[in-house]
């Protein structure tokens, strides 16, 4: 017996021909592969009762937590999925980050009481570095039953998260997420542990009983300013420091709130971290100017790398940006920083795409200031890796990119920024990969086999209308020059509306939100009776998801990986050669017979797309109304409408989703078309008023009530006239 929970589990849908895994593009983009479409589909149908809705959100949060226990942090700092959203090219990406923010807001209080995983009993594994990659690896290992210790050099965990300004990522959320994770996953933490350089060695850890080690020490070393390979002079002047150190100090509370009041602060760098530094300095009272090598036009190869939102926010806050300037010299006066000499940058990346800035030293400006904050990137600290023999002859970390195991020392795994600087979520993915490798390694299994997966986006659903993207709401500048978060989150209603925009680009079986929502026990298969088929091609022509193909020379073939199980093919098949599992023609007929015998006169039967009704599912109707829920309004066959009328039903109401909400793109439209065509024929015998088609938006049962009431009055009027 398969439980509801197991049936609701998503499946990996592999294309028969290419062997690639079909997923929605957002999920492919998410380094942790969050089931994005599924959570959107569920959010779009949240219960109307706020308390019940809150429970559902926690359920959604639990599902996300399974794959990504740091998701409340991602909801502040990530958004990789939005870059690949198919809605992006229409009216703007679905704001997944803000949707997760809402889930996180509900989930964080629950997180404090979330039950822990079973206590681990397997081998001990050490994780060196308590940043996103290390935390993720520890969680995954703990899920598999390993006893994990995180060794961290700093007094607190978090790694690079501790450098993110609190107006972007509040401290209490970081603490809550990390502390809960440690508790839930039984992770032991040892802070203040120095690896190498007189501290512990890998040999020490082995003798302490650790059977495998994941190293993710990130990039804690700020890069110094250079010009054409040479260090820029003047870095020792008073007032010159690394921006990264400022971020850490501010987060630790080591800095007076108006540190830069009355001071001119110059920030060098064009990345997101440089903007963090500039906006932090602005919040400390400084008059801030950013100087960067890159140009203003982001679309060119030498365009500024920082996100549009950062540039926009900084500009609003009064931060000036000087584009296309390098730093040739830091000039001081009496040992104090005074100004930088900035030649014009003519090119940032060379023809091979390598970072190789070129400057025109004859075109120079000077930017004056009291403080210079250098924020042009970070590098790993490799001394420990060198000492332990983890580097190759070129001085690079020597790992198998697929498994992250060190090529020189088996049992040592390395990932995260130290391997390659990237987004937090990418470091977290490395943690997941390393955990899988460690599990295989400790079980003596082959590390590489079956690891490499290729993904492919399913065909993009097309809609007739696209809803506009909601604007991000920021507190006005005069209210936000502090370290409180200034981005306003969605309300529940806004979140539901935004989730409704999701096009649900992935195959049904990789989502199964409908099963999780208990609309149907499983995604039904279409059954094809080739003997009855007359090769008219209607099913191929009408299928909204390209799931039916002609076979040569005769017949059709169903690709159930793409099928969205709307049933439109069944309704348009002139030969009645198709059937849908769980919604067989005879089954629906039996429901009609039951409705006809059990309801009171005048009898009304509603055929309703199940996506229009939830929640709540159990709406009460008057005793003369019966409802048959269908997977989509497109499943309604003229045959069934007429059968209902033949069996004594006085009126048939068809309820479909609005076109832009239809989960099958054309399901609602085609249902309307076929009902209209039948209405035309019924008018030839005077029965047109017995049939009505209406659309009802999901989560708006009052619209259904209104439509039903109008229809009921119409049918009652006909009935009383007839009875007389």
């Amino acid at each position: 017996m398969v439980s509801q929970k197991d049936r609701a589990q998503v499946e990996e849908i592999i294309d028969e021909v290419s062997g690639k895994v079909y997923l929605p593009p957002c999920q492919i983009a998410c380094p942790l592969g969050e089931d994005i479409q599924r959570s959107h589909a569920m959010l779009a149908l949240l219960h109307l009762e706020p308390e019940e809705a809150a429970n559902q959100i926690i359920k959604i949060g639990n599902e996300i937590y399974e794959k990504n226990p740091l998701f409340p942090l991602c909801s502040h700092i990530c958004g990789l999925c939005e870059k690949e959203c198919n809605y992006k090219d229409e009216t703007g990406a679905v704001r997944r980050r803000m949707l997760v923010r809402l889930i996180a807001e509900h989930y964080l209080p629950y997180l404090e009481t979330k039950p822990p995983l079973p206590a681990p009993t397997k081998e001990k594994v050490a994780v060196i570095g308590g940043g996103p990659g290390g935390l993720m690896c520890a969680y995954e290992l703990s899920k598999m039953g390993y006893q994990v210790s995180i060794l961290e050099r700093n007094p607190e965990l978090g790694g690079a998260l501790q450098y993110i300004p609190r107006y972007r990522l509040p401290q209490e959320i970081v603490n809550s997420v990390i502390n809960s994770l440690l508790r839930i996953a039984h992770i032991e933490v040892k802070c203040g542990v120095q690896m190498g350089d007189g501290g512990k060695t890998l040999k020490d850890l082995k003798s302490e009983g650790y059977r495998a080690i994941f190293i993710a020490t990130g990039t804690p070393v700020p890069r110094p300013l250079t010009m054409e390979g040479e260090l820029v002079k003047g870095a020792e002047l008073e007032g010159v420091m690394f921006g990264l150190n400022l971020l850490y100090d501010v987060n630790q509370g080591n800095v007076p709130p108006r540190l830069y009041k009355g001071k001119r602060v110059v920030v060098v760098g064009g990345g997101n971290v440089a903007f963090d530094v500039a906006r932090t300095a602005r919040r400390l009272g400084g008059d801030v100017t950013i100087v960067c090598l890159e140009g203003e036009d982001k679309s060119t190869k030498d365009g500024i790398p920082a996100d549009v939102e950062e540039i926009e926010g900084a500009t609003q806050e009064g931060i000036k940006i000087v584009y296309s300037r390098g730093v040739e010299e830091i000039i001081g006066e009496d040992g104090k920083f005074r100004k930088i000499k900035c030649p014009r940058c003519t090119s940032v990346f060379d023809e091979d795409g390598r970072f190789n800035p070129k400057c025109d030293r004859s075109d120079v400006v000077y930017v004056e200031g009291d403080v210079l904050l250098v924020t042009i990137g970070q590098a790993p600290e490799l001394a420990f890796y060198r000492q332990e023999g983890l580097l190759n002859e070129r001085g690079r970390i020597d790992i198998d990119q697929l498994t992250l195991m060190n090529n020189l020392k088996p049992g040592i795994f390395i990932g995260g920024d130290v391997k390659r600087v990237g987004f937090a979520a990418e470091a977290m993915r490395d943690g997941v990969i390393a955990a899988e490798s460690i599990d295989r390694y400790l079980k003596g299994k082959e590390l590489r086999v079956g690891r490499k997966k290729e993904y492919e986006s399913a065909p993009i659903p097309k809609h007739a209308h696209y809803k506009p993207q909601p604007e991000l709401v920021w507190a006005p500048v005069e209210e936000r020059l502090n370290f409180e978060p200034f981005e306003k989150g969605f309300t529940l209603e806004q979140a539901v509306e935004e989730a409704r925009r999701c096009l649900c680009c992935g195959p049904c079986r990789s989502c199964k939100a409908c099963v999780a929502l208990e609309f149907q026990p499983e995604i039904p298969d279409i059954k094809y009776n080739e003997e009855l088929c007359v090769d008219c091609g209607n099913c191929v022509f009408y299928c909204p998801c390209d799931a039916i193909k002609f076979k040569s020379p005769r017949g059709v073939r169903f690709d159930l990986t793409l099928c969205r199980a709307c049933g439109l093919c069944i309704a348009v098949c002139p030969a009645m050669a198709l059937e849908m599992e769980n919604w067989e023609r005879e089954h629906i007929s039996a429901l009609i017979t039951k409705a006809a015998s059990e309801t009171e006169k005048p009898k009304i039967l509603v055929f309703r797309c199940q996506w229009t009704v939830l929640p709540p599912l159990d709406r009460k109707f008057t005793s003369n109304v019966d409802v048959i829920d269908l997977p989509c309004a497109a499943r309604v066959e003229t045959f069934h409408i007429l059968e209902a009328l033949q069996k004594g039903i006085d009126g048939v109401l068809i309820v479909a989703c609005p076109e832009e909400d239809c989960h099958r793109q054309t399901g609602s439209k085609e249902a309307q078309r076929s009902v209209a065509a039948l209405g035309e024929r019924l008018s030839q015998i005077g029965l047109q008023d017995r049939l009505h088609f209406c659309v009802v938006a999901p989560r708006h049962p009052e619209e259904l009530d209104k439509e039903l009431e109008q229809f009921r009055q119409r049918i009652e009027a006909i009935y009383s006239k007839e009875s007389r």
């Binding site: 007359v534 008219c536 002139p574 030969a575 033949q646 024929r681 015998i685 029965l687």
Partner: protein, 213 residues
């Protein structure tokens, strides 16, 4: 395909009202969509509802045939099912209906469709247009695959006439001028010299009424 449209239900009810047991025969053949099992079922349901309103109870038997116009095929499939039927309602084109009338000379056979022409469907636009008149002397090889007999309002063999205006026919401004279409197509194929050949008047005897198989 053969293009047909359903007859109004009241007209069918008028035909059928003297009878009670009726065989509704679909045809899976040339129309799009085929008037097969589903249409036979739907039509019988509509007629039953319509009959009730006239206080008339019908008993329908519903079936379908791959091609009603093939008398051997239609007879083989339908004869075993005809027992008890007092009338036959055919969903085929006029040819299929006539075939059934031949097969069941003792029974009244009624058409459920009006037959219009041999044509093609533009599915996206949902438009059906005549393409062939069955003239018995196919010209398509020299007219770029476009038939002037069926598609020129005047059936000209040496077009275009002087009435073509902006590519449309003078008799129906919505209809493309077949000869302009032919000209454009031959130009594309670099075969405009074909237009210089004079085509003699059609031999109307070729369309005939009977050919050996």
């Amino acid at each position: 395909m053969i293009v047909t449209t359903p007859k109004p239900l009241d007209e069918l009810l008028d035909f059928l009202s003297p009878y009670s047991n009726i065989l509704v025969a679909g045809c899976d053949g040339c129309t799009q969509p085929p008037r097969g099992l589903r249409e036979a079922k739907t039509l019988s349901q509509l007629l039953e509802l319509g009959g009730k309103l006239r206080n008339k109870d019908f008993i329908f038997k519903v079936t379908t045939v791959a091609k009603q116009c093939d008398n051997y095929l239609a007879a083989s499939i339908l004869r075993p099912q005809i027992n008890g039927a007092e009338a036959v309602l055919s969903l085929a084109c006029g040819i299929g209906t006539q075939t059934l009338a031949e097969i069941f000379p003792e029974l009244p056979v009624f058409p459920a469709q009006n037959t219009h022409f041999m044509g093609a469907e533009e599915r996206e636009a949902g438009i059906l247009e005549e393409r062939c008149v069955g003239c018995g002397d196919c010209l398509l090889a020299v007219t770029g695959g476009i038939c002037p007999v069926a598609r020129c309002s005047k059936g000209l063999l040496n077009g275009a006439c002087g009435g073509s205006k902006e590519g449309k026919c003078e008799l129906d401004p919505e209809k493309d001028c077949a000869w302009i279409l032919i000209y454009e197509q031959l130009k594309k194929m670099d075969k405009l010299e074909l237009l210089k050949e004079f085509r003699p008047p059609r031999d109307y005897q070729l369309s005939g009424w009977k050919v050996a198989p």
